[in-house]
Symmetry: D2
Subunit: 348 residues, 4 copies
């Protein structure tokens, strides 16, 4: 097996179509565009239905990298843009590269990754058991491709589709379709990782049985794609990366103890944290730590936007870094009101 070294370049963006930072790293020889495997970004739209910053960033990156790599190679990369940088969250790209390593680097425990894609889903399939199973199969394939084992997977990021008013026949709310898409993709991850048994996956579970959840999935919906794009991150002993990943589960929006546990699980000190990846949602009970919150009853600001602001601020205050990845809507991703949190740290 060829030894592949994973690197993560965290690059700020001034706008969704800003490639200046990426361009500079490439021009300076710090980043080889042909080694890019996946780009996971936070863009500054509303993160909900009519957020076009996701598609704008993706279109821009594809065109830019297409110039470097040719259109086909540029399109091979997995682009996962998550909208919504409410509060302190700072728009940025996480560019993952995978390159053959120098032979003198001996393999050791560290970050490895895999990617995958499902077929396109129809509007009717979004949020269905079919979607759950199709995602599970693709995640399993991505894990295998990375020579990972399910128990060492710490983060599975999926970009999934949504159904807008124009596409959906009888939908009451296009936001609801985002929730079901995210939920089905997350259950697919749980199935692939063995977090939940197939016996628990029956029609009607998506969006309803919210006590069934993955501790590892982070799913994000957008109108700019019809299929699912998958990014799997874990640790393996054949890595030569300087990076290592850990994760835990937040039980509520202010559960910063979970972040401390996730950092501890990387066996790296706080100062070596490179980035944090987390999910956020307004607690559906309307309460948090025994106190009423008003996010669900605010008809002027989407609760998803507020949830990202809250979790983003709480986690960023711990690591003192607002350039982290917090994505909204954690249906079947962690317990209701909570969500998975993953940490990538530099091992030296």
């Amino acid at each position: 097996m060829m030894i592949m070294r994973i690197e993560l370049h965290k690059i700020p963006q001034a706008r969704p179509d800003d490639v200046a930072g990426l361009d500079q790293r490439i021009a300076e020889g710090k980043l080889d565009p042909s080694m890019i495997v996946a780009i996971l970004g936070k863009t500054e739209g509303n993160g909900c239905v009519n957020d076009f910053t996701r598609g704008f960033a993706t279109q821009t990156l594809k065109a830019y990298l297409g110039q470097h790599l040719g259109p086909e190679a540029g399109a091979e990369i997995v682009y996962i843009m998550s909208g919504g940088t409410e509060g302190v969250l700072s728009p940025h790209l996480n560019v993952f590269t995978r390159q053959p390593d120098a032979p003198e680097h001996s393999p050791r425990w560290g970050l490895v990754m895999g990617t995958g894609r499902t077929r396109d889903f129809t509007a009717a399939e979004v949020g269905s058991l079919t979607m759950v199973e199709t995602v599970a199969a693709a995640v399993t394939a991505a894990i295998a491709k990375a020579n990972l084992t399910p128990e060492n997977v710490h983060f599975v990021q999926i970009k999934c589709p949504l159904v807008t008013a124009a596409k959906g026949a009888h939908q009451s709310s296009s936001y609801q379709s985002m929730a079901h898409s995210r939920g089905a993709a997350a259950l697919g991850v749980a199935l692939a990782l063995g977090e939940l048994p197939p016996s628990q996956m029956h029609p009607g579970v998506v969006g309803q049985a919210l006590d069934l959840y993955s501790r590892t999935a982070s799913t994000s919906a957008g109108g700019e794609l019809q299929n699912c794009e998958i990014l799997v991150l874990g640790n393996a002993d054949h890595s030569t990366s300087d990076l290592v990943i850990g994760h835990d589960v937040m039980h509520h929006a202010l559960d910063i103890a979970a972040l401390h546990r996730a950092i501890a699980s990387t066996h790296c000190p706080m100062e070596q944290v490179v980035s944090v990846f987390a999910k956020a949602e307004a607690d559906p009970s309307g309460q948090l730590l025994g106190c009423r919150h008003t996010m669900l009853d605010d008809s002027d600001i989407s609760h998803t936007r507020m949830a990202r602001a809250v979790v983003g601020a709480a986690l960023a205050s711990v690591v003192q870094d607002p350039m982290i990845y917090v994505s909204g809507g954690s249906e079947h991703q962690g317990p209701p009101g909570g969500g998975p949190v993953a940490v990538i740290a530099s091992s030296h």
Copy 2:
């Protein structure tokens, strides 16, 4: 039967707790507070779940009129505050008075009114068939009280409850509960007026069979009450009011022909229009006159707020008066995307 004369005082408000205009009319002897039967107001909140301007205005009016009339008499009045004055809509109160008329005024065709109240509803009953039937009975009683016949009823305004996150056990959205509450109340009106037969009222119709609708109901939900408050307006030949009412149904948000027909039905010229009362909603098809609209996919502004702005502007541009009553959310009130429109005009 005693002859009762209905008058309508349209009074601007500078804030939800502004009673200066009302106070001035009372002080000048133009309005006898003991004759107030109902106050139908537009307040400047978001008109959705967390709109407290409705309750604030009602509390203020009750306290003010309680000082004039005693707490019990002040509480007898029907207060219906509808939130949301988006766009050009101007916050105001429609104060309806009913007073014994001078004997020299001979009865003639004109405005009469009735009021009513239902019992409180539980959270589970909001939006149910029980609510439909309970409202129907109360509307029928209010019509009878006014010596009206159903075919001469032109406007039935109902204030109905909603379920907030704090009250509802498993609700995904408190806004949804507003829609179901409005819909059930509207179907109650349709039942009472014979617009729809009892045979069509079965569980599951509320919020689903939107082709079943009243042409006369205007219902508005708010968290400040648990029961329904009802105001019935129509014409009868025992009236001595200078006012007359007419109505029609808008088939879409820009259907100003319906307003012209409603005005025509009063047999009064445009210049004698006193006020307009209408319902508004974003067309659930996502289209209007064959063109896509974006109201349902905008995750930053509630479509109800936008629908009020649209219908308010279209109707106000016809009568060149922004101080009209346009209320959002027209489930089972007119066809999908449309809604009833009523006109009160002065007959001389």
Copy 3:
């Protein structure tokens, strides 16, 4: 002088990056891409500072037309995207083509057009007298290029830059910079058309002396450019277009009489109206037709968004077509609270 025929293709968009309608017309031979001079679009962002739908649409169109015409030719076209389709307004593109006409078509009174561009402006110049004068010179040049005379110009559309928090040193509000940019561009038009004398243009006039205005300018700010892009439309007797343009000035947001006058000035009946172009703003007095409006005090919805919804609904209700161009922020474009309205109609 070569006879050039102007055509206008009004094409709906399903998303900011939707070129399917344009592509279909080109594929069917109905529209020759090499003849496109300008594209004036309404996109579905918030129309304010962080509206990236304008840039996304422009980037998409440039890439698409670049494939047809080569990158240079694609970039030559004037792209003016105006964000904000609040209420009933329907996202669409107005594609203007100019082509050599068949010799058998004899010239007659009808639509002609010119385009232009200024140099880039620095952040400090945005909203300055320098910007006013630079725009005026470019508008004058565009008028000359079109063989138009100022008195026959009916619509001058300008896309102008804005200053974001990232770019501006001491700005209290990036929205304010949009207003000053639009205002300066509009005064440039007024200067070029002789609507206002140079003597009235002194530092401090922009954004302050709002009684100084153009009756013809429509300016729209966006973060996606640093210069001004100019589109001039008018009538001349050397046209062979089937189209003719007229305009008037709305004195308030519900001034539909102005639209009727603008239609009348085209000498075409209502049924032959092809499109309407108008500016909108919330009346800065806080009043409309003597009634208080709440748009300026609503801290949850930008007054510009509401103003577009209002004027869009009022104008669309007259022509019964929601696919019209209404752009927000009419500083120095028409009197405070009003704005220019132009109509393009088909002369047969």
Copy 4:
């Protein structure tokens, strides 16, 4: 000098007009309404111009306490309602009581308080140097009344007026008037406490010289009053309260080290923290910890709302209590982007 004992009752509210929690404490004899000196509340409006939850809560409390104490006594209490409970912040009342203490309690170091009021300000005076000086005099008087010395004052909360579109002649933005009102009141506190010398107070300083600030002031604007209401909290050795107060200054929105220092300054452990009081604003530089934030460029959500969500989440995550007081708009209250943070803890 009579020994007075300060108590703080933290009472959740289910709505702005909810007095059930207060009523229960009074009914159970735990809180003597005649001893209430001040009520400092967080209500669930947008905290900006059209937030009527502040006035609604105040009106409700005055009416409720007026029934207990008589209208005059009820009106004597200082009511300071701060709007905006974005994110996890939970609506609640901080009810401060001051009562003669039992003679066996010997005085010791602990919480004391003073209150005050200024005269009404005209619209022109809001944000002026006159306002600064008038506030300073009233704060000085309140400090004296409490037998406090300026150096032992830890928190001065002021409710100040704003100017709405209806009241202001030529204002471009009513939100701006909130900022200037808050800033002038804060500079008044700085003057009274000797944090800034009178020589630095000249016309033009308000809203401009933001490096001049109080480390102690917390000011909040609202349309429901024309004067300033003042609440001063500090420690003195003549207290018999179980409570003690400390404070520090946050230098940015994620500066939780300041909260830890403020807690330490009370000499009480974390578990004995009763409540936290802080100010929040979006960093006017557009950056936080070297990263771009998007709060100032988001035209759909007021940056003040987002800033409260951020600071609320960061501070609440430390004390694991979302029922804290975070108020938006910290002009001249702490350095730009930061703000004072005060902690009240129980000394045993």
